[in-house]
């Protein structure tokens, strides 16, 4: 009885956030602890295409990942194919804490010339796992 109740709760919990994983849950908790407040996926969607000039080149998230997140992207310099950001298409997306943080750090610097804030990361992660 108890077991099935827990299972039921877990199922409904995960059903609400389409592709949440233990990794993304842990990160949301960290971002919250570090000062992130209410997440705003709509802002992240807008920010995705926000262009910033970095080293003389106009860059945005979409420069490499594209605007259709169900489709693969392409590295702006090397041309290497980047698997689709949507966890529905790329099953192992957002399942590893270390990997998510690593790419946030690198890509925010490459696209915007600075690290992203915890609020921005919380917004982006919410936006991306809902794809």
């Amino acid at each position: 009885m108890k077991k099935s109740f827990v299972l039921f709760c877990l199922t409904t919990l995960f059903a609400t956030v389409a592709s949440a994983s233990p990794a993304s849950d842990a990160l949301f908790a960290q971002y919250k602890a570090a000062g992130a407040t209410k997440v705003d996926a709509a802002k992240a969607k807008k920010d995705w295409a926000t262009e910033v000039v970095v080293d003389g080149e106009k860059m945005s998230c979409a420069s490499c990942h594209g605007t259709d997140l169900n489709k693969p992207g392409k590295h702006h310099k090397t041309g290497k194919v980047i698997e689709a950001m949507s966890p529905r298409v790329t099953a192992d997306r957002f399942t590893e804490e270390k990997k998510i943080e690593k790419w946030f750090k690198r890509n925010c610097k490459d696209a915007w010339g600075r690290e992203c804030t915890v609020q921005e990361k919380a917004d982006f992660l919410t936006f991306l796992i809902a794809q």
């Binding site: 590295h75 310099k77 090397t78 041309g79 290497k80 690593k102 750090k105 690198r106 610097k109 490459d110």
Partner: protein, 186 residues
């Protein structure tokens, strides 16, 4: 034929056959590296393959000498890796650094890596694979329209655009297939 003569003939034969090796390194050097193999040592480290290979072709460490890798694989250099941020966590960087240093061109017994080591022996530390003299020379005869002007190649740095077995460390001419130039042959 006397034994002594036989040995002399055999030795001369070996000397002549190793003509290609002699061009880049002396026979003596070739003979004293008995573990030498063809081509370039394939990447055996998973972390290296994943980390470096997520953005570009995972260049085998044997494609550059250790003095080059030394300049590339440190925190500061990786923060601006040819214009990209490629920062690694400390532990990951340490593992990748150790793997690369142990397999750099000058540490390798693979023939092509040894030639690269030879070409950079004077302490030259090219940061780009495309700046290694041996590699430049090997591609000298390929016209620009097959590389730079070829929309499916673009640069010499995309090894695997033409070298169909580049990921295995095999760069032999016979494995080359230039996109949009199906008739190219040597």
């Amino acid at each position: 034929m006397k034994m002594k003569n036989k040995i002399a003939v055999l030795f001369t034969g070996v000397w002549l056959m190793s003509g290609a090796a002699v061009a880049e390194e002396s026979l003596l050097e070739a003979m004293f590296t008995p573990l030498r193999q063809k081509e370039v040592n394939p990447v055996s480290n998973k972390l290296y393959k994943n980390e470096c290979g997520s953005c570009h072709f995972a260049y085998q460490p044997g494609l550059l000498p250790s003095q080059s890798w030394e300049k590339l694989l440190n925190e500061k250099a990786l923060a601006d890796h040819f214009g990209e941020n490629a920062e690694l966590e400390k532990d990951d960087l340490a593992e990748i650094y150790d793997f690369v240093m142990a397999n750099a061109a000058d540490k390798s017994y693979y023939k092509r890596a040894r030639k690269i080591a030879k070409a950079t022996e004077g302490g030259e530390a090219p940061l780009r694979i495309t700046e290694v003299r041996y590699i430049k020379r090997k591609h000298h005869e390929i016209p620009d329209n097959m590389i730079k002007g070829n929309k499916d190649v673009k640069s010499l740095s995309y090894c695997d655009a033409c070298h169909t077995q580049a990921d295995k460390g095999v760069f032999d001419e016979d494995t080359v297939q230039i996109p949009n130039f199906p008739d190219w042959d040597d």
